[in-house]
């Protein structure tokens, strides 16, 4: 075993910002565990725009962590219609629907050039027995995923178009900030069509709303480029406290 290669620092560097791995690092692994973890994390994959990471109906036995770039997940209905389930930024996890080592019920596709960590469930389960904290960490991840989905159900069922888009932008902004990027200026990697699909809106509606937000000086937007000019106002719109003209 190469002691140089297998150490906290290199591990941390190799999967920086990955919530799962980062948090299990300080929990007292021996060299053998570290080596296993290292093996897991090293399994990276470069994917190009529109390339599949995993596919609905396929049994991958992995969950995935985004290291760079961005990813969307979506289900395809019998009639071929697609529903986007989420957008995933660096450090975020996807593919938890295949946690039981059975087939995935959704697909993951790169929105731009991206690097992906593949985390085989089997290996993680073995490590979970050795590292008490990891099990807990995994459960946290899952709970958060479920809670996120529930928030999304509320958004889709009870909010109007304005609130949906404002909430979406605030959410993105917060996630960029958490990852060390600017909270106020960022590039969307997804199309208007994707945003609309995700939020249950027509893409024309998304376009119109962006224009309306611009007219009200709440954001500035030029194609993919978004600047949040008035964060508080945007929150107000998201909460439905103010409606725009």
């Amino acid at each position: 075993m190469n002691e140089q290669k297998v150490n906290f620092k290199s591990l941390k560097a190799s999967c920086q910002n990955c919530s799962l791995i980062e948090l299990c690092l300080p929990r007292g692994l021996n060299n053998s565990d570290l080596s296993t973890l290292d093996d897991i994390i090293q399994q990276r994959r470069l994917v190009h725009k529109n390339e599949n990471i995993f596919s609905q109906g396929e049994k991958s036995g992995c969950i995935y962590a985004v290291r760079s770039g961005s990813v969307k997940t979506f289900t395809t209905a019998k009639n071929g219609e697609e529903q986007i389930l989420g957008f995933h930024l660096p450090g975020e996890i996807l593919g938890l629907d295949g946690m039981d080592n059975q087939i995935h019920s959704c697909s993951g596709v790169a929105l731009d050039t991206a690097t992906i960590c593949e985390l085989p469930i089997g290996d993680l389960n073995v490590l979970c027995v050795k590292i008490p904290g990891l099990q807990q960490q995994l459960l946290s991840l899952i709970s958060n995923e479920i809670t996120k989905d529930h928030t999304m159900l509320m958004l889709l069922a009870r909010r109007n178009a304005e609130q949906k888009l404002a909430t979406f932008l605030i959410n993105l902004s917060g996630r960029f900030k958490a990852r060390g990027y600017s909270a106020d200026e960022f590039d969307l990697t997804m199309s208007r069509y994707d945003i609309g699909n995700y939020l249950g809106l027509a893409d024309e509606t998304v376009s119109r709303l962006i224009s309306r937000f611009k007219d009200n000086k709440i954001i500035d937007a030029n194609r993919k480029k978004i600047s949040i000019l008035d964060h508080d106002a945007l929150c107000g719109v998201a909460e439905g406290e103010q409606s725009l003209n």
Copy 2:
């Protein structure tokens, strides 16, 4: 330890139809494990209509299995608005959002008189180490939960009112059937308002749709009592293959 009390048969009887427990039973437990499992399952609770099982913001450290009766889960937004996340029938699990032993992000309330199994996460985790199959079973449960939420996202985002209600009825029907009840005749335990809230519709719309389904001889309905007269037609409506007048 009471050998009489702790055996497969009594355990199975005591938590019949509970997907989690039922499936972990045949997996080779020793008497001590059995005793632990028995202790877990024995912790039952009788709740009356509108009584809370667990509450949003509370840290219960449990997941819950419905033994009899029915339950709804819902989140409450900052502004007090509620969004129903699911209805839970006997044998089904709820409260997975609190799996990480942290606070629940939703509340569970009985829709009628119900019996609930409380399953402490901590105990389950201990058992998971002893019983390899249980861990897998738990992960399956979680994956299914996530997949169910994703199906719901698709329903809310992309389907019209007719499709939503038809899908809801077919889903209920299938779950009743799976539990040994009639697939074609059942009583709703939730109000029109609850159904509407769950599906992102006004309760008047739910009422109107039920009438429309009745007019088209697809179902018969009288208040809470529902009979599915033409299952295929109902599926057709759910899939959007036919629209009703």
